[in-house]
């Protein structure tokens, strides 16, 4: 069984938040800088699902997403010796690469204008909610959901994906309504803390 499979079963030790602004262990960064295979496998296990989900969501073409995904992680491998943990978290660094490669792919799809006046331009995505920048924020949050306790992320899934009210969640799960409300507040607070820990500038209002 590869290290990637092993580490996919649980977050890598350095990915588990241990406190505000917990930095990556220096030893792990050193392993990354020398492209230690096991360090890269841990990075892959931690971030590849998020990157792939983001690319499928942004490109809306699974085949293209697989190709771009490979490009992203080859770039991670190539640029690993230059990664500076003081400038960006691993999540921010990798998602920035993913965004750039997704934008490249989208630009390649735009047909070359045959005539400057024929109306073909590098048009923005018709739905700004599906732009690479809008989706990147969404997938950063999706990534951090994986660091919540399973019961916390399940509660948020029932609420925000399935669209259940807190009363309906209580009814479905058998958990008292008061407890559901308390856990909901706690889960959202913890998610905000995780977002702030990743990037203090990116905390949604």
């Amino acid at each position: 069984m590869s290290a990637a499979v092993l580490t996919a079963m649980a977050p890598a030790p350095w990915a588990v938040r241990r406190g505000p602004s917990s930095p990556l262990p220096r030893r792990f960064v050193a392993r990354l800088h020398r492209r230690d295979r096991r360090a890269l496998d841990e990075v892959y296990a931690e971030y590849a699902p998020t990157v792939f989900g983001y690319l499928v969501n942004t490109l809306r073409d699974r085949g293209a997403a697989e190709d771009v995904h490979q490009q992203v992680f080859l770039e991670v491998w190539q640029r690993a010796p230059d990664y500076d943990p003081d400038r960006a978290t691993l999540l921010t660094w990798i998602m920035t690469i993913a965004r750039s490669r997704a934008v490249d792919e989208l630009r390649r799809r735009v047909p070359e204008p045959r005539d400057p006046g024929d109306g073909h331009e590098l048009a923005a995505d018709p739905d700004p909610e599906l732009s690479p920048d809008a989706l990147i924020e969404r997938w950063r949050v999706a990534h951090l959901l994986s660091r919540l306790r399973p019961e916390e992320s399940e509660l948020l899934r029932l609420r925000f994906y399935e669209g259940l009210s807190q009363s309906e969640i209580a009814e479905r799960t058998g958990v008292p309504l008061g407890t559901v409300k308390m856990r909901m507040v706690s889960a959202l607070r913890r998610l905000r803390e995780l977002i702030e820990d990743e990037d203090p500038e990116a905390v949604p209002a």
Partner: protein
Amino acid sequence: MSERPTDELERLLEALPREGWERPEPPPAPWPPEQPWRVRAPGFSLRPLTAAVAAALLIALGVAGGVLVSGGDEPATVADGTTVALAPLGDADPAATGEATLTEGDAGEAVVSVSGLAPSSDGDFYELWLIGADGELVSLGSFKVPESGDAELRVNVPVDPARFAFVDVSLEPDDGDPGHSSDSVLRGPTT
């Protein structure tokens, strides 16, 4: 739904597609899976603490288990040998290359030539291995690479190479650890 999201975070959560809640299965990593390095065949611990010194001596004297033959007048050949092409891995220069010719059966020998490798420094050396499909490892000896980046060596092969899946060259720090460093620079399949 009676309650509506009241802030941006809640709106982000509501907009997440199903995959965002389930962590989609990504394609395999673009780098090959790591070999299980930890198994080592008993009886072939060729590298003691002074491996780097020994390797340097091998190079200087051309004796014992590994004989560096680079630059010699006669081309190094192995009778009835199987030739394995070695391709770069890891941090190796993409232009690095090598070739290993191994005799068949037990107690044979191998002639290995490498080129384009980083010259050895005081704190490291290269090591030649046979790797089995099950992760079995046999070290065939260690060597240094001069400034040219090219080297050729002849080594005894105390096992039947047909039992092994790969010929591997690793870069080893001089840290006294006889195991594989997991830092392979050249590798080729034996079949």
